[in-house]
């Protein structure tokens, strides 16, 4: 309850309630004032009209005719009008009418005036009450006087009714604002509670928990979505870190152990300088390998996490692939292999030149290493429907179909790769770099051999490329 009062929603709704009250109150007050004026004007016009008609009657039928008409009208026979009359002769004798005597204030000036009417002037049967009644008094040539007074009761009734309606409306507006504000506040709280509960769970170590979405695509959903994306990202980073730690431990322990063993054995007994040198050189080479593995692991983790600070630029993949193809073709040829380079010109993508070069180089070096001594390899870059397809294929032993997906998994290596020279992280790095470039990496059967392909989204080459 306390919390609910503290929420901004309830505060806002209270503020709005007050504001609405002011606005509606002012509006209703104006309405009330206008209605009163209208009623007053109606009464006045009615009175004037009534007096005029009585005067006309006097002119045609004289005093007697007027008296007859007034008597025939009966005692306040128009109770809906609550109009009271009094007709008196010139000496002040009461001739006829509803009122009992002439109020002292009334002057026969034919003007509508508010005249104080005492209770004792009103016949009991009328059940009316005293007050300032709008009245008109007039005198006739024979000295007789006529007073027509309008009871204020009808106007009061109307005013009361209007006021009542106005207050009821005001009350409804306030309570509606409060109720709606209250409900909004509770809904808001419920949504925030979800965020809080999730945050609490995550704090308690359930890193995979996410904030549920309401599906309404409102600001809260957007907030939840953003928080979830952020959490996913953080999770990936943490995951990457863990992977790196695990893999550094796994991949470096073996060579480091080997290194240590060699040094231990060398130092076991005095040796001649040549043996020391040999041992130190072997150690240096081992360290070189350890460092390469270490760097590859770091690069993979960096690319995998999507955390890459390097520049992504428009570049010509055609130029880059040609350059690498040319560079490696000579090397492969020298070793009895063949590299065919088939590259469509002017294919540009958005990417990081160094990472892409490393990917292509890794693919070429993999083919070179695993495809066999006389292998025929092909580096190709071409348009493929809406995408561009970069592929390195060979006619070597390939990778068994059931293991093709495995090698794309992080750090999964085939046993054959372990025994070969190199750290075997080449394809993992390619996979990570592909992900960073939103490229799709696929392994296919070349029958015989392997095709590794990367599908990029092409961009329009600008003149610089």
């Amino acid at each position: 309850m306390n919390r609910l009062l503290r929420t901004s929603a309830i505060r806002l709704s209270l503020r709005y309630a007050v504001l609405y009250m002011l606005v509606a109150g002012t509006g209703l007050a104006v309405l009330y004032w206008a209605t009163s004026r209208y009623v007053d004007a109606q009464i006045q016009a009615g009175l004037e009209h009534h007096v005029d008609s009585l005067k006309a009657l006097y002119e045609t039928e004289g005093s007697v005719g007027l008296m007859r008409a007034l008597e025939g009208r009966g005692l306040a026979d128009e109770p809906e009008n609550h109009r009271f009359v009094l007709y008196m002769d010139k000496s002040g004798g009461r001739l006829t009418g509803d009122l009992k005597s002439w109020p002292p204030e009334a002057q026969p000036d034919e003007q509508v005036r508010n005249i104080w009417i005492e209770d004792n002037l009103i016949p009991l049967a009328m059940e009316d009450h005293d007050g300032y009644w709008p009245s008109i008094a007039t005198s006739f040539p024979d000295g007789s006087r006529l007073l027509v007074a309008q009871s204020v009761r009808q106007a009061e009734d109307l005013q009361e009714f209007i006021l009542g309606t106005l207050f009821a409306t005001l009350g409804m507006i306030i309570s509606l604002t409060l109720v709606l504000g209250w409900r909004m506040g509770r809904q808001l709280l419920a949504r925030i509670d979800q965020v809080n509960t999730t945050a609490g769970k995550i704090l308690n170590g359930h890193l995979d928990k996410r904030i549920p979405l309401s599906g309404s695509n409102d600001e809260f959903d957007e907030l939840a979505q953003n928080l979830n994306t952020m959490l996913d990202h953080i999770n990936r980073l943490i995951h990457g870190m863990r992977q790196v730690t695990d893999n550094v431990a796994h991949d470096l322990r073996r060579p480091l152990t080997r290194l240590r063993n060699r040094l231990d054995v060398t130092l076991l007994e005095p040796r001649d300088p040549d043996t020391y040198r040999e041992s130190l050189e072997a150690t240096r080479n081992d360290i070189e390998e350890v460092l390469k593995t270490f760097n590859a692991l770091l690069e993979i983790a960096q690319a995998e996490s999507g955390h890459f600070r390097g520049e992504m630029e428009m570049l010509s993949l055609s130029a880059l692939a040609s350059q690498l193809g040319e560079m490696y073709a000579d090397l492969f040829e020298e070793q009895g292999q063949q590299l065919e380079v088939a590259i469509e010109p002017d294919i540009c993508i958005r990417g990081n030149r160094q990472l892409l070069a490393q990917s292509i180089s890794n693919l070429l070096e993999n083919a070179h290493k695993y495809a066999g001594a006389k292998a025929h390899m092909k580096l190709s870059l071409r348009h493929d429907q809406a995408m561009v397809l970069l592929s390195v294929s060979d006619n070597g032993p390939g990778i068994p179909k059931d293991r093709q997906q495995d090698v794309l998994q992080r750090y999964v290596r085939l046993d054959t790769a372990r025994s070969t020279h190199g750290n075997g992280l080449g394809l993992s790095l390619v996979s990570a770099i592909a992900k960073l470039h939103q490229a799709h990496l696929a392994l296919e059967d070349n029958e015989p051999g392997l095709i590794v392909s990367l599908r990029f989204t092409p961009m329009k080459c600008t003149s610089e490329q």
Binding site: L291, K292, N295, L298, Q302, F308, R309, G310, E311, Q323, E326, M327, Y328, D330, L331, E334, N352, R353, Q354, L355, A357, Q358, S361, E365, H368, K369, H421, G422, G426
Partner: protein, 225 residues
């Protein structure tokens, strides 16, 4: 050469100094950024070796201060930060070369040599010449003993780099970086193949070999053995 080493890892610095002295260089050492800046501003050095992360003042800011002061002493930045952009940042700050830790000692030495040479030869030449091998920089023609040699564009760039650093040892990584602009280590000896191709064109049909392989370190283009 008179070198200034600004490096806060004292043990690494001690080994580095030992190695550089063994090669005949005079080395001053500063263990933090402020000392380093002070020495660099007051001393006269051939090359500065600056670690990127230092106590008191970071390495890039030392180089920036020096450059702002008009001091153009070549600086080699050493760093444990190896991402592509870190390198760019290092070079933008006014560093002349960037070496990611851990590096091979030979690599460091080769780069130091190149930096001093580059600093000294400021006059733009119209042709490069090693013995009877000539690369004309205006016509882009290569000839040896008066005989025109046709080279592929990459071969020509490779030759130009080697000629500009004649008599110096140039490592494989230096070639990859400067000729191909690749900053990663290939697992294969792809550079060697390119070198031997170049060698077959400029050396094979001529008596005296100019392009030498220095085992375990790199290459040197020189008329001396």
């Amino acid at each position: 050469m008179h070198l200034l080493l600004i490096e806060d890892d004292r043990e690494a610095a001690a080994w580095l100094i030992k190695g550089l002295q063994a090669m005949g260089h005079v080395v001053d050492h500063a263990a933090d950024g402020e000392d380093g800046l002070h020495l660099a501003l007051t001393g006269d050095y051939d090359v500065l070796i600056v670690d990127r992360m230092l106590p008191k003042r970071d390495g890039l800011s030392i180089i920036r201060m020096l450059r702002a002061d008009g001091n153009l002493t070549p600086a080699l930045v050493l760093s444990a930060l190896g991402e592509v952009d870190d390198r760019v940042e290092g070079l933008r700050a006014g560093g002349d070369d960037y070496l990611v830790k851990p590096y091979a000692f030979d690599e460091l030495v080769a780069r130091l040599e190149v930096l001093t040479r580059r600093h000294k030869e400021q006059v733009p030449a119209t042709q490069l010449k090693v013995a009877d091998l000539i690369l004309d920089l205006t016509t882009h023609k290569v000839s040896r003993a008066g005989q025109i040699i046709r080279l592929q564009p990459k071969e020509q760039q490779l030759l130009e780099y080697l000629m500009r650093h004649q008599d110096q040892i140039v490592t494989r990584n230096m070639l990859l970086e400067h000729v191909w602009d690749f900053h990663f280590d290939p697992q294969t000896n792809v550079v060697d193949t390119q070198i031997s191709r170049l060698r077959s064109k400029i050396d094979k049909d001529f008596g005296m070999p100019l392009l030498h392989t220095i085992r375990g370190r790199g290459y040197r283009l020189s008329e001396n053995e």
